[in-house]
Amino acid sequence: MGIVVNNVVKRFKRGKGFARHYITACDHISFTIQKGELFGLLGPNGAGKTTLVRCIATLLIPDEGKITIFGKDVLKQSMEARRKIGLLTSGERTLYWKLSGRDNLNFFAALYGLVGKERDKRIDYLLELLGLKDVAEERVEKYSSGMKQKLSLARALLHNPEILLLDEPTLGLDPQFARFIRSFIKEELVKREGKTILLTTHYMDEADELCERIAFINRGKIIDVKTPLEYKHEIPHTEVLELRLKGNLSEAKLKTELGKINTIEKISLLNNQGEATLKIIAQRVETILSDVIELVRNESKILAIDVKEPTLEDVFIYLTGTSLKEDTREAQTNNESE
Amino acid sequence: MNRNRFVADLSIIGAEIKKTAKIWFSYKILLFFWAIFPLIWVIPYIFQGKALVGGMASGPFAQLTGTENYIAFVLIGAMVSTYIFSGLWGVGNSLREETYWGTLEYIIVAPTSLLVILIGKTLAEFLYATVMVAFQATLATIFFGLNLTLNKLFPLMMIVVLLVIGFYGFAIAFAGFTLLIKEVHGWVHTLEWVFFLFSPIRYPVEVNPITKIVSAFIPLTYALVAIRAIILLNKNVVNLWQIVLILLIMDVVLIGGGYLLFNKLEFRTKKAGTMSEY
């Protein structure tokens, strides 16, 4: 077995004095990732994905529960565990900007115990593989964000780890780089090298395209673990009616109005820059279409209507009532000030 | 100048002072720090004096400075240096700080001059430093027996104002300079030490011909001589008219030069587009 996460709980303290409270980032999380499997964690921002990855990577100590990597406890045998893990986090600033790409890799190679010709060969190989050879001697500050992400990926692969933890690997990248990273994960890391991979994302297409099994995670809890296909069968004979509306709408009001139509199963509303996207999951949409339009027209102007087959996101909404595009982080999560 | 514009500028200055003050009070520990540490930093000078002289009064020191009381000498230097720190860090580093907060670009797109904002910061710094110095003076009187009387307050404040007008003018030009360079902290530290070496903050510069000549170009030198003359030698401002005149001339040069330099630097940064880089 590759990664075993058993009943992991992680709470964070927020606020001071009387305002002190705890938020639960991971709430009794358990799952097992098989050796050679590409396992996805799909959930909105703030669902607890990154917290979990940090716990596995030995960077965070869980309050309860146990995590093992190929049988090694990440807390008690943390050195052995770290040797098996390659970590990729999202974000621009994870490299030494003032050093060249090669200098960065040389430094981390030393931390992972790589030396001499073996190290040089490995670094050359990775630079070539990721198309960074021509810029290897340039300072990282001159790299585009896509190139920086590729270099981070090279760093994660330096010691040829058995396990890769990829935390939002395509976040903030332009589509071309994101496509490259995805196909690299699929073709190179999974098919050719047979790595065990935990990938977190809030992009449903990414999860759908790459992952063999996906855990839905929302507000610190695992909702379900299934293959993408199994998820889509979760809501049989169901269709998704999607309406694009003008203006910001009140979710509560819409829900009461639409709640009168009893064949509707789930409603989600996402307001974004003066436009709202209303998703209605129902069996046989054509029977409710005119009623919905009638009701919605009283509230706002309809810009577009579409009827779709359910996607992973729709399944997610169906199961949790939360959209993947939402930000479920709590306001208090911001602890910059001190 | 248009009268409405003037009123508008005044209210912007007021808003900037309020903002700066609020930010200080969010770092309460810093208030405590600046009220005490400038004095703590000179304690080694006091013990060094004790060891080298073997008493509290030094004859050779009196020949250079007119007073043999070296403890009072360094304490006064320490208090005045608070204005130097506030000018360099509070004004000189302030635009850097705004870029760090990510707020500088929003200030620049607002329909006001950056200079007006900087004047607001300068006034706020002056008030802040004065409160700190008042606190330090109280401590120095209680713990080190520094002899301060209230009737000297007016002439002292006059010299201090003459000092800070020129010095903050310089600091504003330096703030413009920080828009072009990146490693501002290092520069501020070096400037600090230049002032400590080439003006009589901690020792009489007359002791060495080089420091004596260089210090003659720094207004701080004259201000310190005048302040010490008032406190330690009981001189009044009328006796010190030459120093006051020199300070006035230097103020005019520094304010004018600082203003021109700042405008030039601001223009260059906008052209080069390096304003928001951090």
Partner: protein, 277 residues
């Protein structure tokens, strides 16, 4: 054995990386070389102004050596290692946090102390360079006179003092991870230690309470013994006593540094603030 070499290489890689980053800021690096000189000079000129020359009878009576220039210079040069521990080493983790690289470093299979030693090696080399430069320039301007035979034993003393200061450096480095205003801790500690340590004066001029505090500072023994070897300063205790106490302090400070470091490492990994800047 393999692990040992792995750690050794990691320490060296850390040192090289720090140098490379430091040297990309060329103007800063050059200014960094001048700063310590400008820092020492006011103390020397002040001394000359007080006694009207470089020889102080009072100092001779107290310490057995009257040359205030050599006395004060040696004191301020070797206290530079305190600032190295408090600033260069003390802020190394904070820097990584700011760069965003701290998590990548901490996820690698090396213990934290290996990383700490890497920063120690770099900051010691850096400070060594500064000290050499200070010594050269000041001796050119003022002519310092020291016993050549005292140099080797002085280096031994400095070596032991350094180890104790690494303990302090580790403690500060970890404290900066939980206190956003970490520079205040460094500033306060540096100011207070520099008052109590007999840098530009002998212990005898300090009030009794401060003398007592000086007795638990490795810098006190370091500087007194170095000056004893180099210019024959009377210490008030024997060289053997000084070494013995310095060794004990060394163990205590390093142990304390490690404990604080381990405690805060655990704390930040529990609270999840490792990556916060």
């Amino acid at each position: 054995m393999k692990t040992f070499f792995h750690y050794l290489r990691a320490i060296w890689a850390e040192n090289i990386k720090e140098w490379k980053i430091e040297l990309t800021y060329k103007a800063d690096f050059l200014r960094g070389l001048i700063d310590p000189l400008v820092y020492v000079l006011p103390y020397l000129l002040y001394g000359i102004a007080l006694v009207g020359g470089r020889n102080s009878q009072s100092l001779e009576k107290l310490t057995g050596t009257g040359d205030l220039i050599t006395f004060v210079t040696l004191g301020y040069i070797f206290i530079g290692f305190l600032n190295m521990a408090l600033w260069a080493m003390g802020f190394s983790l904070r820097k990584e946090q700011y760069w965003g690289t701290l998590e990548a470093v901490f996820a690698a299979p090396v213990p934290r102390w290996v990383y700490a030693l890497g920063m120690a090696v770099h900051s010691t080399m850096h400070q060594g360079l500064m000290i050499a430069l200070q010594l050269i320039v000041i001796s050119l301007v003022f002519k310092l006179s020291v016993n050549i035979s005292g140099i080797v034993p002085s280096l031994a003393v400095v070596g032991v003092m350094l180890i104790a200061l690494y303990g302090l450096g580790m403690m500060i480095a970890s404290l900066t991870l939980i206190f956003k205003q970490g520079w205040l801790i460094s500033e306060a500690l540096s100011s207070l230690i520099m008052i109590v340590t007999p840098i530009a004066y002998p212990l005898a001029v300090l009030p009794i309470v401060m003398q007592k505090v000086a007795m638990v500072l490795p810098t006190t023994y370091g500087i007194l013994t170095v000056r004893h070897f180099l210019i024959g300063e009377k210490m008030g205790f024997s060289v053997a006593t000084s070494f013995f106490r310095l060794l004990i302090l060394c163990v205590l400070w390093v142990a304390f540094g490690l404990i604080v470091f381990a405690f805060i490492d655990k704390k930040t990994r529990s609270s999840g603030t490792l990556a916060h800047y």
